[in-house]
Point group: C2
Chain length 84, copies 2
């Protein structure tokens, strides 16, 4: 029932080109966010913000998330984790 789905936070729009429009990516090396635990997603975004993940796509992720507010981080994590 689409009417019950939470509205996508604006800040999540920049995630979609790699992670897919609902968090289910076409790219094989990109993690599925759909249904992932929100607290894990929140911690992962913070790790990318703070440069605690390196190599692979970590620099790309750092650039994308570095200026997100705490509220944006939580909103993104909750939305992707809850979209099932």
């Amino acid at each position: 029932d689409d009417s019950k789905k939470a509205e996508m936070p604006v800040a999540a729009s920049q995630c979609l080109s790699c992670h897919g429009t609902n968090g289910n990516p076409a790219l094989k090396d990109v993690p599925i966010l759909l249904g992932q635990q929100p607290l894990y997603l929140e911690n992962a975004i913070r790790a990318y913000q703070e440069g605690r993940r390196t190599g692979g796509q970590a620099l790309v992720m750092h650039e994308i998330v570095k200026d997100l507010s705490d509220a944006d981080v939580k909103a993104i994590a909750t939305w992707f984790g809850g979209t099932q």
Copy 2:
């Protein structure tokens, strides 16, 4: 149909206490592995092996996966990713 499920690799047994017996954890800060993309899981394990993830549970993960062979890494990634 359980008969069609792949057998768990022995090396995956050490993942279960945190990530759950089928990759669906009870702990809220631990990522769901069940159904995650195998290539992403493989890359993530290698990042933990090589110390490219720090903070949070990264040191725990490093200790657990540091001695896994390439074959073990692939087997674990494939098994969790394919368990749906």
